[in-house]
Subunit: 226 residues, 2 copies
DNA sequence: CGGCGTTTTGATCGCTCTCAATTTTGGTGG
DNA sequence: CCACCAAAATTGAGAGCGATCAAAACGCCG
């Protein structure tokens, strides 16, 4: 995003607010009143099914917006919750709409963000449909690692990645028990490891090969974010 | 979309072209030169994995655009192929971009379409993650039936639905063999039936209950399209 | 009429789930 | 700093859903 646009957008941001972990930022059925921008911490989009199970459809990291839908749609068809303590800022629906009307380039930028999100979602669909549990877990970790790298969250080849095995399971359609076994296998094979909330990928080439990971679907995101 | 905008968009449409079934409209890796609008027939977005398996991530019906990405992104991360003989029209990338710059409301409309697509994709992720094979098949059929109803494709409660069991399997992450067994079960239970390329939903209330189908995620699409 | 792709059915395999119990971790209050 | 508690991680045993392999019947199109 061109800096002058980013500036105008930043000007609309509310004062940052601290949110505890595991708290809804938006709830299904709500009419979203404002767009929320993640400044620190992780969050996720999710749905709860009639049986009570949860499916996560996206992870939100610092810099991600939730929700771009604000200015267009009227009702949330999913919820968004923090996974860690988070810092967020708001942009009021009306102010955002006014700015978007005044700055078509900004609307285009938002549209572009949307397209990148769609790329990621498509990759998730491919994973859930055609990859086994080991590939799914590995692929997700590579995605998160790449995204985190792009926003400077990776230090010394380590990523503080606060996802519990329950959360990983809810994102991949697996049980936490099975996620645990998959992680053990990946660890034993020396490919990657999650230790104390920190992700370390020891052999990213092998992991990418095994999981069929191709970061080109993220490139646009990464290039633009860089 | 307001009629005057639709008119300006229509003015850019190329002469309709006939495309045979099973032909790529766009191929992964291509730089898309034009946006394609489906006028007749069905198509799908898909990826081919290293192992040779295919995953379909969306179905395109008349009125759907493929691809909105044209004016923003540079390279396709998936392919689009016809499933039936189809009639399509093109809008050249540059002309579309010029019109979008001149008509912010049109860009907003495109953004809005994108958000609806995203709703549908999220529902797919939920299905693939947390629904069993019977629920998945039923849920997809209800989605397609609702979308087809909205564009007037349903007559006498019957939908000409040209998806083979192979295609359904590729969309839901199931084998064609298992899709067949699921369809048999749905037929035997008197819930729905696919006969000679025609879908008939005998007990949509029961099917919706069993599959956890809630059309609210489509309402925006349907309302607007109506 | 012939041929190929789709549909259908059967038998068996195996990946992932379920159920259950134990250990570890992290956060909280004394 | 330590005791305690709840949540998460870990491991084992067994069951089931959907995959795989195989083959036959069907339908469509040339």
């Amino acid at each position: 995003m061109p800096p002058e646009l980013a500036g105008k957008l930043t000007a609309l941001l509310s004062k940052p607010r601290d949110i505890p972990a595991r708290q809804d930022l938006m709830t299904e059925g709500d009419a979203p009143a404002a767009m929320v921008v993640m400044l620190e911490g992780w969050a996720c989009r999710y749905n709860i099914l009639p049986e009570g199970t949860r499916q996560i459809s996206a992870f939100l990291m610092p810099g991600d917006c939730c929700d771009l839908h604000v200015s267009v749609l009227t009702e949330m068809d999913h919820s968004i919750a923090t996974l860690t303590p988070a810092k967020v800022a708001h942009i009021q629906r009306d102010e955002l709409n006014d700015l978007l009307d005044a700055e078509p380039a900004l609307m285009r930028a938002f549209w572009w963000m949307q397209l990148v999100n769609e790329s990621v979602m498509r990759a998730w669909i491919v994973s859930m449909g055609r990859r086994d549990s080991l590939q799914r877990v590995g692929h997700l970790m590579l995605e998160l690692y790449a995204r985190a790298t792009a926003i400077g969250l990776v230090r010394d080849d380590r990523l503080v990645m606060p996802l519990t095995q329950i959360v990983i399971g809810d994102a991949l359609g697996l049980t936490p028990v099975h996620v645990n076994r998959v992680l053990r296998r990946l660890r034993e094979e020396g490919v990657m490891e999650i230790q104390g909330g920190t992700l370390t990928i020891a052999d990213s080439a092998k992991l990418a090969r095994v999981t069929g990971f191709d970061d080109s679907y993220l490139h646009r995101r990464l290039k633009r974010a860089a």
